[in-house]
């Protein structure tokens, strides 16, 4: 049973990134999606610590919640070199490895000698749930967004399989949403990995927003990541960047007696990007090769924040992505895919905390870790066997393409 009560539920949140000028209908649909995911979340968010409505938090301040976007699991299972190869391995790599709430596609083009080379990287942190709202409620807006992103306007047939989507019911339009899969695969419009969803973000913040504690020598103490993830039987989440960062930041605030909530606009954002690491012919990257979009934070002075980032030259220019160099100190290498870019990017949601009050001893959720080995060996994680299979698939594909 949830105690959730909101004064103005329908318009708690603007659309992610304030990125689209939407009508109330879309905004309401988005808020309904948020509310529905919150209420049905398996982590049972406790409104006492994690209210859905950020307006319920007074004396608020921003929490710093972000993490590096390069997939961490393959780095634990293997190393950075293999992680890069597999993460850049087309849709197969994206499906398995892009699980830090940031996905990308590599756009390839032929050079003048006919060789296929990487041209650009499209990076996205947009939630699929928002795109579903738009596709269901406002076909015109969907087409407008796509035109802005792709530069061309898809036909109604492309998007809905009919000449006139307005004759379809919302459910029928929603059923056609999978038609976007191919465009999404090619262009990274929104995140499609099963654990990069709105529901997953709400789950992990809800999971962390609990006053867990352990008893040591009769004293109540703060629990560690390993103790929490082991006691709650979610060890598989403990070796990524995203889930520990989001949940432990929320936990830190709650254990300190604060509430946490998503700040408006709820979304996942590219919060930092070290563009200085990139160079072209020994000079800083041309500004037009770094295209941020899908956010409008300029009024808050956060215009570097965005949900979409495109790196690389346009089709009209004779250069390629691998003409760009990424540098760390004296080490320099060509950019051949998205993994290298993601190493310089931090992503995260906007989280606010506040309403401080002391926790009572009865508030703590004491974790029973008696006799449990809480050590988590990330190089032995179950996902490593799946990544091994992907590695074999990758190596096989290289054999076939080798001269």
């Amino acid at each position: 049973m949830f105690l959730f009560v909101s004064k103005n539920l329908q318009t708690m949140y603007d659309v992610p990134g304030f990125s689209d000028n939407v009508n109330e209908d879309i905004k309401n649909a988005w808020n309904e999606a948020v509310k529905s995911n919150y209420n049905s979340s398996d982590s049972n968010p406790d409104p006492k610590y994690f209210p859905l409505d950020p307006n319920d938090i007074r004396e608020s301040s921003d929490a710093k919640v972000f993490w590096f976007a390069d997939p961490q699991e393959p780095q634990h299972c293997f190393d950075e070199r293999i992680a890069q190869q597999l993460s850049d391995f087309g849709i197969e790599g994206r499906k398995l490895l892009h699980n830090e709430y940031c996905e990308y596609t590599i756009v390839k083009r032929q050079d003048s000698s006919g060789k296929l080379r990487p041209k650009r990287v499209n990076v996205t942190t947009e939630f699929k749930a928002y795109w579903e709202c738009v596709a269901r409620r406002d076909p015109n807006l969907l087409r407008k967004i796509l035109k802005e992103i792709l530069g061309i306007q898809p036909s109604w047939q492309d998007l809905y399989g009919v000449d006139d989507p307005f004759v379809l019911t919302e459910q029928m339009r929603a059923a056609k949403f999978s038609r976007l899969d191919k465009i999404n695969t090619d262009n990274a419009l929104f995140m499609s990995h099963p654990i990069n969803g709105l529901s997953d973000l709400i789950y992990i913040v809800g999971f962390g927003s609990k006053p867990y504690a352990v008893k040591r020598n009769g004293q109540i103490e703060k629990a560690s990541r390993e103790e929490i993830f082991t006691a709650k039987r979610v060890r598989s989440l403990a070796c990524r960047h995203a889930d520990p960062a989001a949940s432990m930041a929320a936990y830190g605030a709650v254990f300190g007696g604060n509430q946490v909530a998503f700040k408006n606009p709820l979304g996942m954002y590219i919060q930092s990007f070290n563009t200085d690491a990139l160079s072209f012919q020994g000079e800083p990257l041309p500004e037009k090769w770094i295209r941020r979009s899908r956010a409008n934070f300029s009024s808050e002075g956060q215009n570097e924040w965005c949900q979409r980032l495109v790196i690389g030259p346009s089709d009209e220019e004779p250069y390629f992505l691998d003409d760009i160099k990424i540098e760390t100190g004296e080490f320099k290498e060509p950019v051949v895919g998205g993994f290298q870019i993601l190493k310089s990017i931090e992503v995260g949601p906007l989280i606010t905390t506040g309403n401080p009050k002391s926790l009572l001893s009865s508030d703590y959720l004491i974790l029973d870790i008696t006799g449990i080995n809480t050590a988590i060996k990330c190089n032995k994680a179950e996902v490593c066997s799946e990544i091994q299979q992907l590695k074999e698939q990758y190596e096989k594909s290289k054999l076939h393409t080798s001269p």
């Binding site: 190393d79 605030a253 007696g257 930092s272 990330c378 190089n379 032995k380």
Partner: protein, 418 residues
């Protein structure tokens, strides 16, 4: 047969141990390309001499023991050793050493950023970075003499070897940098420093221990670490132009008590956390104030304070240090004072020393705009052009610190010897 490996000595991370009061960081250069076994044999002999020094034995004073003052000696190897100097090495360069262990070269005219995206620059007179030699040796002891003596004995060793064998020593002594611990827990800018380091023990260990790996050729590095060294000059003439309030907001602490600042009044005055320091004490370093040394999520109010140094340098304050993404590093810095022959007659600053499981942790702290990227120190004072020169770098380097096992002739001997 495999033997248990562990971190080398000289990393004072555990509960109940305290680093010696004096540091000397010495750099050795390998003269030319050399076969790994030959250099390995030479280093074994040097290490034997170091073992004797730790027992107070000086080769020129047989049977006369001198105080060693809890001397510890740590050795690290730089990327150039693997890539340019060693022939027939038994180990290849660790992956993270190869990718992340170099700083940019200073500009030919001096100065320039140390990393792409970093706000720390080389000092204007620094045209070459002296901390890029092949080998780093860290000496720590409780007296200045005990660490200085190590450098002199190293010189004697290298010199004697070439004198008696009539051959050039394969090693050349490079720069040495000395420093000391302060008993007031402050730095040259008068503020408390190093008090929000991680808890002793596991949290520190997990931030710096190279973790288990499934990659065969990297397994030998497990339980080793990476050391970073930066000789950071502090320009007090710039700092002292700031008012006390400006200084406090830049640091994020009260200047006198060290209590963390959690908000700013409408008139721009800093407000420290309630109850700090506890009655009967005057500084955050005193007993009873332990929980004020650091602050938890949700305590800071307003949007200016997160820009201050103690926050920019440590955005994730948990003790969950295992994951690289935490960017937690174990700092073991030593202040320095050196007389110079130009005004004002001295140079002061910090020998920044940190240990981490990959150099990427520190690189990310120094270059991400969420952290210290583009910032020289932190705080809204960064808008002043002069403040961008407040801290400058005189030397900077990364070295791989191999693990040690009882079968090793010296830490890292398996790089050179079968």
């Amino acid at each position: 047969m495999s033997f248990e490996t562990k971190l080398q000595e000289g990393i004072y991370y555990d509960k109940g141990i305290k680093p010696g009061n004096h540091l000397c960081m010495t750099f050795l250069s390998v003269r030319d390309q050399i076969d790994a076994p030959i250099l390995g044999k030479y280093l074994s002999e040097l290490w034997t001499m170091y073992d004797e020094l730790k027992k107070g034995k000086i080769r020129d004073l047989p049977n006369h023991i001198v105080p060693s003052n809890h001397l510890t000696i740590l050795i690290g190897f730089g990327i150039n050793l693997f890539k340019k100097k060693l022939r027939n090495a038994k180990r290849s360069a660790p992956d993270q050493l190869e990718k992340y262990s170099t700083f940019k070269k200073p500009l030919p005219t001096g100065g320039g950023p140390i990393l792409q995206g970093a706000g720390l620059m080389y000092d204007d007179d620094i045209k070459t970075n002296p901390a890029t030699e092949d080998i780093l040796i860290q000496f720590i002891a409780d007296s200045q003499l005990a660490v200085d003596r190590c450098v002199v004995e190293t010189w004697k060793f290298l010199n004697d070897k070439s004198f008696y064998s009539n051959e050039e020593s394969p090693l050349v002594l490079g720069n040495s940098y000395t420093g000391f611990q302060r008993d007031d827990f402050r730095s040259w800018i008068d503020f408390h420093d190093g008090i929000s380091n991680m808890e002793s023990g596991t949290a520190r260990l997990e931030s710096m221990r190279i973790k288990e790996t499934n990659i065969d050729q990297e397994k030998w590095t497990q339980n080793g670490t990476y050391i970073s060294f930066m000789r950071i000059r502090t320009d007090l003439s710039i700092w002292r132009k700031l008012s006390t309030v400006e200084q406090e907001l830049a640091v994020g602490r009260n200047k006198l008590t060290g209590c963390p600042i959690i908000s700013i009044t409408e008139s721009g005055l800093p407000v420290v956390i309630d109850g700090c320091p506890v009655p009967g004490t005057s500084e955050v370093t005193e007993t009873g104030n332990e929980h004020f040394k650091d602050i938890s999520e949700g305590v800071i109010k307003g949007d200016k304070l997160p820009e201050s140094h103690i926050h920019k340098a440590n955005m994730k304050r948990s003790n969950d240090t295992f994951l690289r993404d935490s960017n937690r590093i174990f700092r073991q810095g030593y202040e320095f004072f050196e007389p110079i022959d130009i005004s004002p007659g001295f140079r002061v600053g910090l020998n920044f020393v940190s240990f981490q499981d990959t150099p990427r942790r520190l690189n990310d702290i120094l270059t991400s705009t969420n952290w210290l990227g583009k910032a020289n120190f932190g705080g809204s004072i960064e808008s002043s052009a002069e403040m961008k020169r407040f801290l400058t770098i005189r030397a900077a380097g990364y070295y791989f610190v191999p693990p040690y096992s009882k079968v090793d002739k010296f830490p890292g001997s398996s790089i050179f010897l079968e």
